[in-house]
């Protein structure tokens, strides 16, 4: 059981939770995630560790309301408990000093990007971050990202904030302007797919952090399998970050819809029972 110490609403659909988890706060590294189960009936869902305070023994989780499980978590408040929480899971991001890093975050993907941006900055890189979302409301963690970036570019689909356009528009502008040594893409699968296509064109090594469907998160089930360079790998133990240019994004997108029918039903049941 892990208690919620603080909750910050970023928008109607996105909130940050500070959760008591002293062991994980100590052992986690950028790129790691946790699996949690809100209650007895709950699903096990993966969430990236967006930050941690090893002294206070807390970790930060940023969650976006999607379906039943994320809504159940979103609805918890300070003082409530999360029934099960396990981590840190996955492989940590390979942080090194390479020169200029272009970090592209889409929607809630900005949350997992934050600790990575911080680590790359601390390792001595020049960091340019692009935050993209559908509208101004959905741009999150801007101040925190600014703290660890040399430059921040905001892109919104509707132009309600920053520049109007997709993440790739911003990215291409930077790439044409200056030498980018490495790129990171975290966000919806479609956004990562197009970012990857772009950086491939310019031959910039790119890491994408995948949000595959998971059950255990320990390599036991294979629900999270992805094709990378023609090989089947498990996102939870081999990832979640992979060489974006090798990832079969189309397969990932299809697999994310694997339980769409069941999820839709569950959500309808959930909404009508509340």
């Amino acid at each position: 059981m892990n208690q919620i110490i603080d909750k910050v609403l970023f928008s109607e659909k996105v909130a940050k939770f500070v959760v008591d988890a002293p062991r994980i706060a100590k052992s986690r590294k950028p790129g790691h995630f946790v699996i949690l189960r809100v209650d007895e009936k709950g699903e096990r869902i993966p969430l990236t560790i967006a930050g941690a305070d090893p002294v206070k023994g807390t970790i930060d989780l940023v969650v976006q309301k999607m379906g039943v499980s994320s809504t159940k978590l979103f609805d918890l408040n300070v003082g409530d408990f999360i029934l099960d929480l396990v981590g840190p899971l996955g492989k940590a991001t390979h942080i090194h000093n390479t020169g200029t890093i272009l970090a592209c975050g889409g929607g809630v993907g900005v949350a997992p990007m934050l600790p990575i941006v911080e680590a790359f900055k601390k390792a001595g890189n020049r960091v340019i971050s692009i935050l993209a979302a559908r509208n101004k409301e959905l741009i999150i963690l801007e101040d925190e990202i600014r703290k660890w970036s040399d430059e921040v570019i905001i892109m919104t689909d509707d132009g309600s904030y920053g520049t109007k356009g997709l993440v790739t528009t911003g990215a291409e502008m930077v790439i044409q302007r200056e030498k980018v040594n490495e790129c990171i893409a975290i966000g919806p699968a479609v956004m990562m797919k197009f970012t990857s296509l772009l950086t491939k064109k310019y031959e910039i090594p790119t890491q994408a952090s995948l949000n595959a469907i998971m059950v255990d998160g320990t390599g036991m089930c294979g629900a999270c399998r992805v094709s990378v360079g023609g090989r089947t790998l498990f996102t939870c133990i081999d990832g979640p970050e992979f060489d974006a240019h090798q990832i079969d994004f189309n397969e990932l997108i299809v697999r994310l819809g694997g339980y769409a029918a069941e999820e839709k039903l569950a959500n309808e049941r959930f909404l009508s029972s509340n």
């Binding site: 062991r23 994980i24 052992s27 189960r37 009936k41 709950g42 699903e43 096990r44 039943v68 499980s69 159940k72 029934l83 099960d84 929480l85 396990v86 981590g87 840190p88 899971l89 059950v215 255990d216 320990t218 390599g219 036991m220 089930c221 294979g222 629900a223 399998r225 094709s227 089947t232 133990i237 397969e251 299809v254 697999r255 819809g257 694997g258 339980y259 069941e262 999820e263 569950a266 049941r269 959930f270």
Partner: protein, 495 residues
């Protein structure tokens, strides 16, 4: 174990045993037919995911069955038992009507008799080497059913004894994983007086016994009683804790843990790497069974989804395949099929499970192997291509090698495919502990006598050492490791 011989002899010479032998002539004993295990009607049981198929012998049935046993001078059944349970002794206690003593006899050697009585492949072990099978060519004594009876009787009688525990010696040891290997290790170590903590990655204790083997074969409540007992004896259970991730071995050592028993299992599912295998609706048996057993996905009350297929193909012929296909049937499959590349004789599953599966209307497509999957426009599997096989010469495992029959491909419609073609050792611990010696298959290498690994304070057993094996072997390893870890720590103390 020949050192055992004398002990067996002394036990056999006891008066009550001698008298019991005289009570009935051997020819009357051998004239009896093996008692059938009462079971739920197949048409009824396929409607319930959680009703146990075998309902258990009555006391009277058990006594009749026990009276078939000849109490042999040379009890060959024991040779077939991986942990050398004193079989005639417990069986004769049942014949005598002293069921609690029978249970106690089992517990001298086996940590979880109620589990083993249900899941051991007896037909390959004790019952295969029973005098009836070997010499009389008759059905063996139903040793497994009797084991289950005695253990259930003890549990249900409410007089289940919590074993005595030696005074605490203040030494902390850890077990990693909470499957049968760890549970038996923990039971022994706590009896020796150690402060034992079991760390489990998942949110439930029990390993495969909980997330893998379904309710209709091994009810959770049976495992829970054992867990309760261990807890009463002082074993601590920590869930949601991955050793090597949540904390390292070094962290745990600095917290006072002096030795470790790694029993992290063989949880990594294998796939066949054939075209289309990553379509939706194709999953490993581990995923399918975990969703249903651990996450309760079949119930609408629970949030985890599971696909309820109408045409379900399960690839493989082991226990995992049988458990998956029978689960699919219970979740409403119209056609639940086993697709296995060899013939029925080579199937590694327990014979009883295959038999139950047949009664439940499972279709067996033997000598068949999938080669490709096809999907609809949404990426959902809807068809699979199968190739026929034939059997050639025996391979290294002694089983006849399946050979492809060229040009024999055919397609069948499917909407759910469960791949149950084996598991690999859990890579977590070996990848976190670089100095640990592992085989080319990824299993941890240990001294077979002591279960000690290349790192002195680290012992290992169960599937992480053997690859996918059995519950009883895992338990045996746990006991061996406990005995030698105890010795190791005592010697260390003397230094």
């Amino acid at each position: 174990m020949s050192t055992n011989k004398e002990y067996l002899q002394t036990e056999r010479d006891k008066e009550w045993r001698a008298e019991l032998r005289k009570k009935m002539p051997a020819k009357d004993r051998t004239a009896k037919v093996r008692t059938r295990m009462p079971e739920l009607d197949p048409f009824v049981r396929i409607q319930y995911q959680d009703r146990e198929v075998n309902t258990g012998l009555t006391g009277q049935q058990a006594q009749v069955e026990a009276s078939r046993c000849l109490d042999c001078i040379n009890p060959t059944c024991i040779d077939g038992c991986p942990v050398s349970i004193n079989i005639p002794k417990f069986v004769k206690y049942i014949e005598l009507g002293n069921f609690l003593e029978a249970a106690k006899t089992l517990k001298e050697t086996s940590a979880l008799p109620a589990v083993c009585g249900r899941v051991c492949p007896q037909e390959k072990q004790c019952e295969a080497t029973c005098f009836y099978t070997v010499k009389l060519k008759k059905d063996p004594v139903a040793i497994g059913h009797l084991e289950r009876f005695a253990a259930d009787y003890e549990r249900e009688s409410g007089s289940m004894s919590v074993p005595e525990v030696a005074p605490a010696n203040g030494k902390k040891v850890a077990a990693i994983g909470s499957g049968p290997a760890s549970l038996s290790f923990a039971g022994d170590m706590v009896k020796f007086g150690y402060d034992v903590t079991v760390f489990e990655a998942l949110h439930e204790i029990g390993g495969v016994l909980k997330y893998g083997i379904p309710e209709f074969r091994l009810p959770n409540k049976i495992v829970d009683v054992e867990l309760d007992n261990l807890q009463k004896m002082g074993v601590k259970f920590v869930r949601n804790f991955i050793v090597g991730k949540t904390a390292s071995f070094e962290d745990l050592k600095s917290e006072g843990f002096e030795a470790f028993f790694v029993a992290s299992g063989a949880g990594l599912p294998r796939f066949m790497n054939i075209p289309g295998e990553n379509y939706n609706g194709i999953l490993s048996s581990n995923e399918y069974l975990t969703r249903v057993n651990l996450m309760n996905a079949a119930s609408e009350q629970f949030d985890t989804p599971v696909i309820k297929g109408k045409n379900v193909a399960v690839i493989g012929g082991g226990n995992t395949a049988m458990d998956s296909v029978r689960t699919a049937k219970r979740l409403g499959a119209e056609r639940a099929m086993i697709i296995y590349r060899r013939s029925r004789e080579e199937m590694p599953a327990r014979v009883e499970e295959v038999h139950h599966a047949e009664e439940e209307g499972i279709e067996f497509m033997n000598l068949a192997n999938p080669i490709e999957y096809f999907a609809d426009e949404k990426g959902m599997v809807n068809r699979m291509r199968i190739q026929r096989m034939t059997l050639g010469e025996p391979d290294s495992s002694g089983r006849r090698r399946p050979i492809v029959l060229e040009g024999s491909e055919y397609d069948i419609p499917v909407d759910l495919v469960i791949v149950a073609v084996g598991v690999s050792p859990n890579p977590l611990i070996p990848s976190e502990v670089k100095e640990l010696k592992v085989s080319k298959w990824g299993t941890i290498e240990v001294n077979e006598e002591t279960m000690q690994s290349s790192i002195p304070e680290l012992f290992a057993g169960g599937d992480i050492v053997r690859g996918g094996a059995t519950v009883i072997l895992a338990m045996g390893d746990g006991r061996k490791a406990a005995a030698s870890m105890d010795q190791y720590l005592q010697e260390k103390m003397k230094k």
